[in-house]
Amino acid sequence: MPHTARKVPPRDPPAPPHDLDDASVIVWSLREPERFAALFRRHAPAIMRYVVRRLGPGPADDIVAETFLVAFRARASYDTARGDARAWLYGIATNLVRRHRRDEVRQLRALARTGADPVTESFSDAADTRLSAGAARRALAAALARLPAAQRDVLLLVAWEGLTYDEAGRALGVPAGTVRSRMNRARGKLRGALGGIDPTAVTEEQADE
């Protein structure tokens, strides 16, 4: 694909587009908006999985599309010193997920109550055996549902998406120290909720029951 060096930040040497970091793609997209699609291709798979894991497939298409549209509209204010836009995109996605906070909590409570997870039911037929949630998973779901949204966001960004405290802080617009104290509080609550339960006890059932 053609490109010229002047379209990327001066500190970056000329490189083929697939080697451009996110910041360079964003800068480039200020002149050529369609370039922003590269960011979608690069990060949408992970963001999609994150959103589906939190809310299920239902609202995921909309949230993922909206994440990248919000990012697109805000790209002029992106801090181009950050080569990797992952934290920024997770932050936007997390804000959008929060609009569905009640659905998220309702589904976690359903999992806690019934042992069946409405979020993952459409993926479970891929496995030979269906895992019916054991006591630990149900207790965990109940505890996750009880967490303040800010603590749940931090916990899931770190535990599921592998963000560092620093990245999670940038995603959520809070200092890493705040992320850590939220993380500690969240973990303390989960630990308390799992107390006394053997987390390895999982019931296996035949797919056809």
């Binding site: 908006p33 509209r73 505890a143 800010a150 560092t164 509080r185 308390g192 339960i197």
Partner: protein
């Protein structure tokens, strides 16, 4: 196996190669629709969660009528003005706080107890309890240590204690957390560098995040700070006076912390749960927190305990004990 690995396993069956066609089509359509009005690029990067804010407002309205009613056996709420009176007394008591000023190279030691509902099934529910000790590096330059120990479970009032509750209590656990670098003054374990001024504190608390409307954010940040840090007496006093200025805060005459100590509380209803910050009735020292359902729903029937904590001890020490070989390590 711990709560973090258990969290990682949750919904791990969601595949990594989900179909992106629908999302991409919507994204590209939006990109095109946006192109003509490219000057409107400077939009909110972080849109407010409007739906959540609306829901909170409703919960707040319910709370006022609930707290206004003096139902039999329910905690009695008194007038807003008394929040200031209570927080003034707590502030005055804080000014006599004997906690020594820690040096940057020392540690803040905290001993707490926590209670929250646990369940193995619909029928097997109980109150799980744990004892937590933390050693936090005052200047954040050294690793922190925490130790957790499961305490014997309690029955939910009016229900038997299920046998599953007492089986297989967790072994005590230890966690070492690597230093996180410089933190904002409001996020440090010892609030030696924040202004002892209620208005300035409210601004800092508002900036430190949280959800929902301004009152929710302030309340959540203030409770966090109160539970997880220590402060010079003047800052502590200012923090109490700041809490008195948070909208929607009420007094609850009788509350009980996780260690069973009764006290008087300031409370705010967030999402159908009355969150209480409990103070000793005689000394006005902060005891701990409690959350109680006020709107029957997914979180349980009205009156159900959501969580409680008790601060048992706070002191300044030179160093944490040596972690054992099985201690879990956490990065910053």
């Amino acid at each position: 196996m711990n709560e973090l690995s258990e969290t990682r396993r949750l919904r791990a069956e969601v595949p990594a190669d989900l179909d992106l066609a629908g999302a991409e089509a919507r994204f590209l359509a939006g990109l095109e629709a946006d192109a003509p009005r490219r000057r409107a690029v400077m939009r909110f990067v972080r849109p407010l969660p409007l739906a959540a804010a609306g829901a909170v407002a409703v919960a707040g309205a319910v709370a006022v009528s609930y707290l206004g009613a003096d139902g039999g056996g329910e905690p009695t709420a008194v007038e807003v003005a008394n929040v200031s009176a209570l927080m003034d007394r707590a502030a005055a008591a804080a000014l006599k706080d004997p906690l020594p000023v820690p040096r940057p190279d020392q540690y803040l030691y905290q001993e707490m107890q926590e209670t929250q509902p646990a369940s193995a099934s619909d029928d097997a529910r109980w109150l799980g309890r744990q004892h937590v000790r933390t050693w936090q590096s005052v200047d954040g330059s050294r690793p922190d240590l925490s130790r957790h120990r499961t305490l014997p479970p309690l029955p939910i009032p009016g229900r038997p204690l299920p046998s599953t509750a007492t089986e297989a209590a967790h072994a005590p656990e230890e966690m070492v957390s690597e230093p996180c670098g410089t933190r904002a003054p409001i996020d440090r374990p010892y609030l030696g560098a924040v202004p002892a001024d209620p208005d300035a504190l409210l601004r800092l608390l508002d900036e430190s995040g949280g959800d929902g409307d301004r009152g929710d954010r302030l309340w959540e940040s203030a409770s966090d700070v109160l539970v997880s840090s220590a402060a010079p007496p003047k800052v502590r006093a200012a923090l109490y006076r700041a809490i008195a200025r948070i909208p929607g805060v009420r007094v609850v005459d009788d509350s009980q912390d996780a260690a069973g100590r009764h006290g008087v509380a300031v409370a705010r209803v967030v999402d159908g749960v009355r969150e209480e910050l409990i103070f000793d009735r005689a000394t006005f020292r902060f005891l701990g927190e409690r959350g109680v359902v006020v709107e029957s729903g997914d979180q349980g029937p009205a009156g159900a305990l959501v969580a409680s904590s008790a601060i048992l001890r706070v002191s300044v020490v030179d160093a944490p004990p040596k972690p054992g070989p099985k201690a879990e390590r956490a990065d910053c």
